[in-house]
Symmetry: C2
Subunit: 236 residues, 2 copies
């Protein structure tokens, strides 16, 4: 078979995207051209073209005469994210409700099936990727070339933020995830019905849920230990 080169390039691309979305490659990580060349049986020329493209989509940052690096998440990221996300996502879902085709709706339902499966049995990575696929499908539906660049950029960090803040296992988290799943179902229904207003409202709800979850993680309940009494130390 001749999946030589052309498909190995696609493989590399997919590998990098998944690794970045799941934080296997953490923000700020330097990428080694030589090493990746070996691993994927590609010369540096096509590899560097992949880098350029991923940089354009927001996965990587390129600096001249320095190695490519996974795009950073700074301390202002969350703020910027939650400023932009409700607006862009609301617009995307509104347009999706207007324009979705039968095929696209079926794709969306498939993605939601996969998301539910990942909720029950999958890892945090599987969940993040399935969720990413779901939202990406809504972007496809919107069909507006001017919205998609920002929307796709948001989805990258949506996945990464999710991997960061949804890790800790807790009853609360599980509850939130099934709430998210229910919202997905409602989004599908609104799109199928062509109900723009409902879709836009659901977008807002969906992001608010994310924000609440992150607030809980960033500002956890304080440890309930009176002053002057040191935390229990384990016996040697």
């Amino acid at each position: 078979m001749k999946d030589d080169a052309k498909s190995r390039k696609a493989e590399l691309m997919e590998h990098l995207k998944v690794s970045i979305l799941t934080l296997r490659l953490q923000p700020g990580t330097d990428l080694d051209e030589a090493h990746l060349s070996d691993d994927f049986g590609l010369s540096r020329t096509p590899l560097r073209e992949v880098f350029r493209q991923l940089a354009g989509e927001g996965y990587l940052d390129l600096r001249t005469n320095r190695s490519a690096r996974v795009s950073e998440m700074s301390y202002t990221t969350l703020r910027d994210f939650f400023l932009a996300a409700p607006m862009v996502y609301g617009a995307v879902l509104r347009l999706a409700a207007q324009n979705a085709t039968r095929t696209q709706i079926n794709d969306l339902k498939d993605a939601q099936q996969a998301f539910k499966a990942a909720l029950q049995s999958g890892s945090a990575e599987d969940r993040a990727l399935a969720n990413n696929r779901f939202h990406d499908a809504t972007g496809e539906m919107s069909g507006n070339v001017y919205l998609r660049p920002s929307f796709n950029r948001l989805l990258i960090d949506h996945a990464r933020i999710g991997m960061t803040f949804y890790k800790p296992q807790s009853a609360h988290k599980t509850e939130n995830l099934s709430e998210a799943s229910r919202q997905h179902d409602a989004i599908i229904a609104a799109i199928e019905a062509g109900d723009e207003a409902a879709a836009a409202q659901l977008a807002e709800d969906h992001w608010n849920l994310s924000r609440d979850q992150i607030e809980l993680f960033v500002m956890p309940a304080a440890l309930d230990i009176p002053m002057g009494i040191p935390p229990l130390s384990k016996p040697a």
Copy 2:
């Protein structure tokens, strides 16, 4: 001097951007790698990297085993554009009013100076580029990484749409352009005052002006000639 390679790459990039924004390279035009290589004294390797980057920013479309081509403007473009632009631009100006630094405001004023100069003496291309520079400066001010990809994509087609629809010389057009210039001044004032609401309102006004202008061009006043009488033909 050693502006070898590194700066020639930047030159090529700038050349392509300007040519595309001003429609010197029309939507759908095929780009010849060999020819551009010669013209800019670059080998095909860095040239193709530039292509990849410009494709990421929305200037070009890449198709495998076919030449790179200037990104198309379809008949749905205008609709998509005016759906997305007021929202994104409103958000950008709102954030600009929040976050603009002294330096950025000075840059914006410089851009507006250049725009006014282009209005009086410059060509349509100069006007489009100066206007592009002005709006790009507002994008810089907003400082939100998630908004900029779509905003920049909008600016590309804003310039191209402007080149298409503002060409015909008429009193009406000139009037609209000075109105646009006045709006620019008001935008600067709103940003300098940190007045978010005013900035957002001005964004809406600014796009409405564009839309009106395009409507006039697309749906001109009908020729006022009674049926059966052919239009006046010039004497040879």
